[in-house]
């Protein structure tokens, strides 16, 4: 029996899909079987970021409608054999999802994988509600800016009230990833501090990912940034994946830039 994790954000463009791809690969690199499922029906992206664009034959909607079998619809990653992928439909829209069909699919996947990661669509409409409905845990991705925080807050509220666990009075485990932290901007006070974000959202922090130019290039090439050993963002995802697999990984403070560190060191010698 695996664990089902929904990756949510509320606001769009904060890095949900990038986080899903990197965490999926990171978990697979920890020798756990993992499937990532793109629930963003109508706006499929995950296949491109994983570099599996040209291998998609059947999609999620076809599987749920019974037009395709589950096994042949699942795509194996070229990079790591533990990582599997199920694509979203690009032609349909979010309204085609039905609670019962989602439940059946999630149940089947839960039985055959250690980790099932669902990439939720942005917003809080039906597509989002179906993604979170049968999840055991949620990873909330935010950027350190007010609109992203407020939207995430709303999404967490809906997660607590509309997920199956929430309706039964149980708590859905929630983990926070603060994405695209610019150390320089935090130092100069332009960006929200992590402590303030945690105060507002009141959920467990699972990791901070620094802003990294390499992420966009990695997505464009279909090679998740976690494969780049030198990338700061890639290293951050390695740490988060480790934490999700139950390892004790110390928090690294990504809010101090190299420049800031240099200043501190020079300050000592002055």
């Amino acid at each position: 029996m695996g664990i089902v994790i929904a990756v949510i954000s509320g606001k769009g463009g904060v890095g949900k899909t990038t986080a899903t791809a990197n965490l999926g690969l990171g978990i697979a690199m920890n020798d756990k079987s993992c499937i990532v499922v793109d629930f963003d029906i109508g706006q499929r992206n995950l296949d491109m970021i994983l570099g599996l664009e040209n291998r998609v034959v059947y999609d999620l909607v076809q599987v749920m409608d019974g037009d395709a079998k589950l096994k042949p619809s699942i795509i194996k990653s070229k990079v790591n054999e533990n990582l599997h992928f199920l694509a979203a439909s690009q032609s349909k829209d979010k309204t085609v999802l039905e609670s019962k069909k989602v439940e059946k699919l999630v149940k089947e996947l839960r039985e055959s994988y250690d980790y099932v990661i669902l990439d939720s669509p942005a917003g809080i409409e039906s597509g989002f509600e179906h993604t979170i409905e049968f999840a055991d845990a949620a990873i909330v991705v935010v950027n350190p800016e007010v609109s992203s925080i407020r939207d995430a807050d709303r999404a967490i509220g809906i997660l607590d009230s509309k997920s199956e666990k929430g309706r039964n009075g149980e708590e859905v485990a929630k983990y926070l990833i603060i994405n695209r932290i610019s150390a320089e901007m935090v130092e100069s006070g332009e960006m929200l501090k992590s402590e303030d974000i945690l105060d507002i959202l009141n959920i467990k922090l699972v990791g901070k990912v620094p802003e990294d130019r390499g992420v966009i290039d990695a997505s464009n090439q279909g090679k998740p940034v976690i494969l780049d050993k030198k990338s700061h963002a890639g290293q951050a995802y390695v740490r988060i994946a480790g934490r999700l697999c139950g390892q004790k990984v110390d928090m690294k403070d990504v809010e101090i830039s190299d420049k800031g560190l240099f200043k501190k060191i020079t300050g000592i010698f002055r």
Partner: protein, 210 residues
């Protein structure tokens, strides 16, 4: 006051043929002598003279109250009786509701009020957690919040106790409260002589340098 109540038999008619009328009364005099005669329509002097001669009491063009049977009266009495019991029950329920409200009008919440949530509370509210941006709380009674407020508050009670909340949107009895005035750790907001009065409950924390 001395009074008497009795029923009278009435014979009501309209005269078309005076001769036939007189003949009818002549033959049935024994039957109608105890009746009150009510004549609708025209009444000629000859008929008046005839009725006076026979010493029959009569009325001309009058509407008389129609009597009802005993059964009808009893039914109406019953309806009135049930109506009054129903009214009494409604009044009792209202009083009970009111006393319940007076006894249980304090709501205590310790959960976070997240964005998008709208709380509408009839009575007092004690909230032991924060109110996030995008959330709304309305209370008809007093409002005490022990953590930071970033959402909107609307309070119509006697007083509010609010922490220093620079981002909150606070409306007390329809008047917007200036956030800058809520500078202490816990502030009391109340209405006195139509003016909003803000007094510190817990002053700013002092960090003693050790």
């Amino acid at each position: 006051m001395k009074s008497k109540q009795y029923s009278v038999k009435v014979f009501e008619t309209t005269i078309t043929d005076e001769k036939k009328f007189m003949e009818f009364f002549d033959t049935n005099y024994a039957l109608f002598k105890d009746h009150l005669i009510l004549i609708q329509g025209d009444l000629s002097n000859s008929i008046r003279a005839y009725l006076d001669k026979k010493s029959l009491k009569f009325l001309h063009n009058q509407t008389l109250p129609v009597g009802r049977t005993r059964k009808a009266i009893e039914e109406e009495f019953q309806v009135q009786k049930t109506e009054s019991t129903v009214n009494q029950q409604i009044a009792e329920a209202k009083i009970e509701q009111l006393s319940n409200k007076l006894q249980n009008n304090l709501t205590v919440l310790d959960t976070m009020v997240r964005s998008g949530r709208e709380l509408d509370i009839d009575g007092d509210l004690l909230l032991l957690n924060r109110v996030n941006s995008g959330a709304t709380i309305h209370t008809t009674g007093n409002l005490i919040i022990t953590q930071v407020v970033e959402g909107a508050l609307r309070c119509d009670g006697n007083f509010m106790m609010i922490t220093a909340s620079p981002k909150a949107n606070i409306i007390f009895h329809g008047v917007e409260v200036d956030n800058e005035l809520l500078e202490n750790k816990l502030n009391r907001v109340e209405l006195k002589n139509n003016e909003i009065l803000i007094t510190p409950v817990i002053k700013k924390e002092i960090n003693w340098a050790l």
